[in-house]
Amino acid sequence: MTSHYCPHTPQEIREMLDAIGVASIEELFVPIPPELLAKTFNLPPGRSEFETYARMQELAADNCSQLSLFIGGGFYDHLIPAAVDHLAGRAEFYTAYTPYQPECSQGTLQALFEYQTAICRLTGLEVSNASLYDGATALAEGALMALRATNRSKLLVDGCISPIARQVLATYLSNLEVEIVALPPLDGLLNRQELAAQLDGDTAALLVQYPNVFGCVEDFSPVAEQVHAAGGLLVTAVYPVALGMLTSPAEIGADIAVGDGQSLGNPLSFGGPSFGFIAAKKACIRNMPGRIVGETVDKNGQRGFVLTLQAREQHIKRHKATSNICSNQSLCALRGLIFLSALGKGGLAELAQLNRDKAEYAKSCLARIPGVTVLQSAPTFNEFTVSLPKAADQVVGALLAKGIVAGLPLGQYFEGSQNLMVVTVTEKRSRKEIDLLVKELEVALCN
């Protein structure tokens, strides 16, 4: 016996081997040809949970977690109400699995139905699935869904979409016969002239994002009409906290909305786990990827919830499924639901307002620094782009040494953008922190 996680006593193991009719545990591994047995297995020896935790504390201490974050880029430092951790930390939620047996999984199923409802109300669209992996893969799934729904093979991708998400999209589609046309940004906005030139009868969808990677928010409703007139779909990637204030995808005329749910009650946690969401018009439901929870009744006419439309999924349809996804990010979606329910209708709007207020304050302060200009091509939410008089990498590096992550330099993502930086200001940044950012940035620019 080496660990307490395997509970059998030697006596019990003996009894079980006797019941099976073998002399030793080794005999159970007889189906494995001896020449295939492992010759090496070098993991370190085990340890107690206390020593394990101490080791994890050591690793955690080797990170700097006291940084003042003005960086976003799809991952946002938001407040998380205490109830989120406590409720999602209920073991009945987190140690269950996919609710294949609905009668003993109504907790998860109803929560996911409520989650789908929250996503529908946030986006204004009619159907949502029970979560995808993250925002970037959700964008790829949204694109695939549009390709299936239209039976067309060309995608127009706004170059203002997060470059990371665009890379994921390109990788997902790299072996399929799909033409991806990137529309290069124009002043931090969708290049509408280029759109008009590229949009045609083969176009399955236009993919856009708001706020976009530069922080800009533009009115896509005319674009939606234009795309629809060509028989294509509009897929929008959205930042859910911003939807506390911004026009919903449905109001714009989007057919499919996707996004990352990290900002809804999930910690940054070095990039995961978060969850991806996808919502669409009802006509698209059979092309949706992933689990969907539906309402029904039991034999007594009582309301209950089940996984539905499973004939779309891999465990039934195999290679003809709408996606290969099996495990999703259910617990993170539950956190999102609890977060949205704690804030409620007024709270989400208030949170959005607070984000915009802080960002506008920071924007006005930064604009006053000599040599710094703010990209003014469109209104912004809680992120905006500034142009610095020297390389953004250098400035960000200098401020990092002072415990401030000043922003996301764009140089590695866009040609000729070495001096551009996106600054993010969430509700967690105090005026004091913003003032310090401004001060330190001024210092860095003088040096």
Binding site: F29, M56, T95, T171, S248, F305, N328, K345, G347
Partner: protein, 481 residues
């Protein structure tokens, strides 16, 4: 239970936000502002807490019930893992990519790097990427790597071969990467039919995807031969790690001819399943595939002794997800691995196999056992004998729910009629297994003595059997209001 939306009272609040310390910004122009705030529920914190606490009580879970769901490895999730994950929550992933930023997250990078090394050791692979977010995502990543490998060699490949016992994700993942599927039937002895496999192989096959032990819980003794045949056509061998829990320290897939593997950290390495996720599906590869691994990658800088983040390489497949994968899940898996250690992981596989064989032996007189040989970590019965009395696998599942057990996987694998797939895992005590066995025997007896009794089951849950046809027809997937 009422939906949370049905409990909403206009104007009520569950959380108070900090007061603003900055001036209010000018309103956004008309076309950019939503007309109405989203109709989210409005309720007090207590009502919120009560709602979700009561919802949670409508679930069976590992912490409350034996949960022998086959192919899912529902082992106990040690509590210290949860505590460990919280230690890393404030880290922003983009920090690591900033100039000087990697110095500020050496602990996180080090954990990921070490986890990759340990997984490489367990699986016999050369390098690991932690980027894939779940098992199926790992499969897709693996297929992209294989496609890139063939493309670089100028190979013209069109097909991926899977046995008919495979998980549905295997053919679905291969299809997402543009491959056509060749399905090989299972022979009477429970493994992929070797002769049919040999006949099906040709130079246009890109990869063979295998689960070993397979979904029948059987280890394929011909696996090396299969790998040799595949390699003779320059097809690569993909190992679906869903069943890795059976063989840790016993067999390393990389040693027996596999080129690419994904592991399910939420199955084998003790992280919780979360009601459907998050999982984590790191992918291990042999040397020939290393140049194609997705970015970013963590690399050891020999000059400084520090870990750095590499963001590009000439032959990379690109990115299958944002950054380093489901990091929080990996923290838990890492803690699990260092806690159990070498001997602990060997013991895990040994006792998982012991438990499955114990159930197999004790139940084989009561349920049809289509494949008689020694199984690995799971055993697949058929309810075909019970069906003679009109009792289906699903009926037995509902009987088990009333007895306080989460049912095994039923109707999978698809090749076994009325399949009942039991995976007890290593963390269950003999007493739990004995009690479960007794209840299964009771079900078998009831199927003979009173087969009509099953129709009403379950009777002890908040709902009885649900009308799935109605759900699919009406497609009510959100609460309108």
């Amino acid at each position: 239970m009422q939906l949370i939306f049905e409990q909403s009272v206009p104007g009520r609040k569950g959380v108070m936000l900090p007061a603003s310390d900055v001036p209010r910004a000018a309103a956004l122009p008309e076309g950019l502002r939503r007309a109405e705030p989203a109709a989210l529920p409005e309720l007090s914190e207590l009502d919120l807490v009560r709602h979700f606490t009561n919802l949670s009580r409508r679930n069976f879970s590992v912490d409350t019930h034996f949960y022998p769901l086959g192919s899912c490895t529902m082992k106990y999730n040690a509590k210290v893992l949860e505590n460990a994950a919280g230690l890393f929550s404030p880290l922003h992933p983009l920090t690591a990519l900033l100039p000087g930023g990697s110095d500020l997250c050496q602990g996180a990078l080090g954990m990921l790097y070490d986890l990759g090394q340990m997984l490489a050791d367990v699986t016999g692979m050369d390098e690991v990427t932690t980027q894939p977010l779940a098992g199926a995502h790992g499969e897709m990543t693996g297929m992209l790597l294989i496609a890139a490998y063939h493309k670089a060699k100028g190979n013209k490949k069109k097909y991926v071969v899977v046995p008919d016992s495979s998980h549905g994700t295997n053919p679905a993942s291969a299809a997402m990467v543009g491959y056509e599927i060749i399905t090989i039937p299972t022979a009477l002895y429970g493994d992929m039919d070797l002769e049919l496999f040999r006949q099906a192989m040709n130079n246009e096959v890109a990869a063979v995807m295998m689960t070993c032990p397979n979904t029948l819980g059987l280890f394929n003794p011909h696996i090396k031969e299969i790998a040799d045949i595949a390699h003779s056509h320059d097809a690569l061998m993909y190992y679906d790690g869903a069943n890795l829990n059976a063989i840790m320290g016993k067999v390393r897939p990389g040693d027996v001819g596999f080129d690419v593997i994904h592991v399910n950290l939420h199955k084998t390495f003790g992280t919780p399943h979360g009601g459907g996720g998050p999982g984590s599906g790191p992918v291990g590869v042999k040397k020939a595939l290393v140049p194609f691994l997705p970015m970013p990658r963590i690399v050891h800088d020999d000059d400084s002794g520090q870990l750095r983040v590499q963001t590009d390489s000439p032959q990379t497949i690109g990115r299958t997800a944002n950054f380093f994968g489901n990091f929080g899940v990996m923290v838990k898996a890492y803690a699990y691995m260092i806690m159990l250690g070498r001997e602990g992981l060997i013991e895990v596989s040994e006792q998982a196999v012991l438990n499955a064989n114990y159930i197999k032996e004790r139940l084989k007189d009561y349920f049809e056992l289509p494949y008689q040989q020694t199984c690995m970590h799971e055993v697949v019965f058929s309810a075909s004998r019970q069906l003679e009395h009109g009792v289906h696998a699903i009926d037995i599942a509902k009987f088990l729910i009333d007895k306080g057990y989460h049912p095994p996987t039923v109707y999978f694998p698809l090749i076994v009629k009325e399949a009942i797939m039991i995976e007890p895992t290593e963390t269950e005590s003999k007493q739990t297994l004995d009690a479960f066995i007794e209840v299964m025997i009771e079900a078998a007896k009831l199927a003979e003595s009173d087969p009509t009794a099953f129709a009403a089951m379950p009777v002890s849950m908040p709902v009885t059997r649900l009308d799935e046809t109605k759900a699919a027809r009406e497609q009510n997937v959100c609460c309108v209001g």
